[in-house]
Symmetry: C2
Subunit: 550 residues, 2 copies
């Protein structure tokens, strides 16, 4: 389908009016293959239905309800649609009109999987009035996750036409689509500011509407520990901002996981250790390293370092705690953190000094950190019957720490320096671990003006490396650290910037023309707004048919 410029502004002159004309009925992220025709169908809300012709399960049943709503009544911000379908006689006069489209077949060819996973298939086909499917529309896939992605694309193909006045119109279209990378994540930080469940759910909806598939939940940090552990409730009792209002109960966590599962999104929790753990200490005495100054004087009260790595009972705690995490979060992957470990308090603690000497490690504290991670991974493998798998921040490799096979390494350095992340990727992939990239996508670092192009153009495979190295890069993720953002602005600060990363990770590598992307992003932004999500404008001076009016 050609780009059809909006008719609401007749034409554009320099300096006058909007800067960018949005596309109409284009899919974001751009499908791998798409052919469209100018001929169109009209959808009628009172007649339309999804027909489930293949396998079915709760995920499908929920999804067709959700997408019926998204197509016809897209959200709180939406008021009346442009127009109801015109009478048949009027629309029949239009030479491009094919028919009313009163159903879309959902053809899942294999039984549903229960949980999205690292290996999930997300490919799907859409056929609307193709030669082998005349006057009909079908979404087909071998996987329930593919069906979800196809429903999202279908919902984006439906548009209001200012030309015909039809509120729900769709062009004859064929799509063959699949993701380029299997890991397309978004990291939320609910430790520096508490994020209410409603906010996390909205972020999950937005991820699904951008075909992202991993919610990396940075649950704890120095500032707070909002996760209410069943085995160790004292940690959130003393380590959350407020132990009743600012926590996530086991039930809250289940609610998020189920919400994400319905949308084909994995939830991977991060319990960052051994550092970034100040909030753990108050409710779990003796966990952290007491801190001494250079003269051997104990710093009191409440000066602590990272988790005390030489105290045997700490590994008992960690085993039980991560055992609980493994039972609470169904995905086998847990992010263990491992970033920015300060050795200051380790270096000055008499027990640790004795332990280092006994092992002949001198002053090489990376050996102690290696010891900590060896013990942690051994303990967690034991309690999970070798089922738990790990993601870690890149520091562990920077320090030459060896990690269990199957661990994924997250490259985050170079976040502030231009393109440095390619060198980091080249270096880290040499270790042979699977790798995900977040360096260029630190969306918390805001700046003035049109800023999405740098996120869009960051290409994960642009580094100097062998084919084997490149195959190790399984995707990437947007990160939104929350030191300076809370539930008020986390959505507009993340979106639609994160959409541009979603396209980088889903679409073909050749989809990298920012001028063309801008027109589609403009439509996509207004679409998300219309669906009731407070997403920021992305292309400067412009407007949406329906503005945010809350």
């Amino acid at each position: 389908m050609k780009w059809v410029p909006s008719k609401s502004v007749p034409f554009v002159i320099p300096y006058y009016g909007r800067w960018i004309l949005p596309t109409v009925g284009q899919v974001w992220p751009k499908p791998q293959q798409q052919t469209s025709s100018e001929t169109f169908f009209v959808l009628r809300p009172t007649m339309f239905q999804f027909q489930i012709v293949g396998e079915r399960c709760d995920i499908i049943d929920e999804a067709v309800r959700r997408y019926y709503q998204l197509i016809f009544y897209p959200g709180a911000a939406a008021s009346a649609p442009l127009a109801y379908p015109p009478t048949l006689s009027v629309i029949q006069d239009n030479p491009q009109f094919r028919a009313f489209l009163d159903s879309v077949a959902i053809d899942l060819k294999q039984p549903c999987e229960y949980l999205p996973s690292a290996d999930m298939i997300e490919s799907y086909n859409i056929k609307i009035d193709t030669p082998d499917n005349p006057l009909k529309a079908t979404i087909s896939s071998d996987s329930v996750w593919g069906i979800l992605r196809g429903l999202e694309s279908l919902s984006q193909l439906v548009y209001s036409s200012t030309e015909t006045g039809v509120a729900y119109q769709i062009n004859a279209t064929e799509i063959v689509d699949f993701p380029r990378f299997s890991y397309r994540g978004l990291m939320m930080d609910s430790a520096r500011h508490y994020m209410p469940l409603k906010t996390i759910k909205k972020m999950t909806d937005l991820m699904a509407q951008n075909k992202m598939n991993v919610l990396h939940w940075h649950l704890t940090d120095d500032a707070s520990f909002p996760y209410e552990s069943t085995l160790f409730p004292n940690i959130s009792r003393y380590g959350s901002f407020q132990p009743f209002s600012h926590i996530y109960t086991a039930n809250d966590v289940r609610e998020i996981i189920e919400y994400a599962r319905m949308r084909g999104i994995r939830v991977i929790p991060e319990f960052d250790s051994p550092d970034h753990t100040q909030s753990w200490g108050r409710g779990q005495p003796k966990l952290l390293t007491e801190c001494y100054d250079d003269n051997g004087v104990l710093l009191v009260p409440d000066e602590y370092g990272a988790i005390m790595p030489t105290r045997e009972e700490n590994y008992v705690f960690l085993q039980q705690f991560f055992g609980e995490i493994f039972n609470t979060f169904p995905d086998p992957f847990v992010h263990l953190g491992g970033d920015e470990v300060s050795y200051y308090c380790w270096q000055r603690h008499p027990e640790i000094k004795a332990f280092m000497a006994a092992n002949g490690w001198g002053t090489d504290f990376t050996k102690l950190e290696q010891y900590y991670f060896d013990r942690l991974t051994t303990a967690t493998q034991e309690i999970t019957q070798n089922q738990m798998r790990y993601i870690v921040w890149q520091e562990l490799l920077d320090l030459n720490i060896t990690l269990p096979t199957g661990t994924i390494v997250e490259v985050w350095k170079g976040a502030k320096e231009e393109l440095n992340f390619l060198d980091e990727l080249a270096r880290i992939t040499k270790y042979g671990y699977q790798t995900i990239l977040s360096s260029p996508w630190y969306l918390n670092y805001i700046s003035y003006g049109l800023d999405w192009e740098k996120y869009y153009l960051a290409e994960p495979l642009d580094f100097d490396g062998s084919d084997e190295q490149k195959k190790l890069v399984i995707g990437g993720e947007v990160v939104m650290w929350s030191e300076y953002v809370d539930s008020v602005s986390v959505i507009p600060r993340t979106w639609p910037r994160a959409s541009t990363v979603a396209e980088r990770l889903w679409s073909d590598r050749s989809v990298n023309d920012t001028t063309l992307a801008a027109l589609r992003l403009e439509e996509h932004r207004c679409r998300l707004l219309k669906r009731g999500f407070a997403v920021d404008p992305s292309n400067g001076v412009n407007f949406c048919e329906q503005e945010w009016d809350m």
Copy 2:
């Protein structure tokens, strides 16, 4: 009153928990004089009333309803209050408890004025259990505007006590308060992005809750002309983004003016000319200067420059148009703009070249701009019987253009360069016009991290100049240009950053300790959030008792 740190976090250790402890029951902006005692009163929602003991009018009647609501049921984000008043016996045991406070007297000593104005009095006194007003509370002022400011302060003095468990508590307090500067403005730009009425009203509420008193409404620009003129409806018909949904009717404008009047806020419209007027041209043919290239070839279609200054009928239009504006907006001040005038098309237009030659002006186009403003001000004085008064951007003085006595000049340069604005102020005040400052307060230029201190510390009177020059500085304003912000984020991007400017312009010059301000700003931000406004966090890692959960 001493700062009482919040009790919800028992104490703070390095790196752990929130970075800043909010104050409790502190007023923002800080009053000129305040003494408070540790003894307190308890307010009961079912018993409490305002008693109007002096003059009254609709503004007072509306205000006491509004502030009852703000004190006891502060907004959508609020859930249950901390606790209802404890039984009398329990609270009587507290040695600091004085009594239940079941009424506050509103003592307006002079009849209400109808409209807020440049000369309005905003001073007020609050006496709660002072020696001359024992066991009683009174807000008094000579002016209805002072009563409004006093009600705002009173509402901020009421706090929930984690110590006593009382939901609505207020300390014995005496306040003598008045603003340092008479002009404390906020500029909204509804031309680059359309701002729905709801958004403008929320901004107005937030201004009142920060004791700001001028809404400078930048209504039109190159991008769009959303003001629907009664005399010239074609301008918005062809010059707005969308002529039905993206305009302000005369009724919309009245609604905003009335909303602002009730809150003691003036509305000053800006119709920027002769440049920044591309959107005016389509519905008002011949208004703009046709543009020729260097070879005298007319650039077609739709290349225009600023308003054509040598075409007589344009002054007829401008007179009628600004006559309508003067009748629509009750404040005598209108912002005429005058910034960034490009001479490119003027220089190349044959009629203008002939006009310049006939007047012997050579190539000095500032003379033509002077001519334009002479004609514009003469025309508008004529139609308004010399009642209209002007604000202009500083360029006109930079070009040595003479303006009518009583014109106010807005200094905006140095917005991006550090402290340069002081040189601009020193230079501009030498011309003898009253001056307002906005250079350091371009809040649209966002940046990462803790950013409010630079706004807070920008001191308008810190320039080298005589006492006479300093007296000319009557205030300043926050500006929020909307190229990259629309109704989704304009509130969190503006607030509470604008609050820091509000304090700079209201409170004593000596109130400039950012460490102390941070504690009060933290409370103020959570208060605004609790009242239902989506204002951003300002001090990094923290939380509010009631988070934004929409």
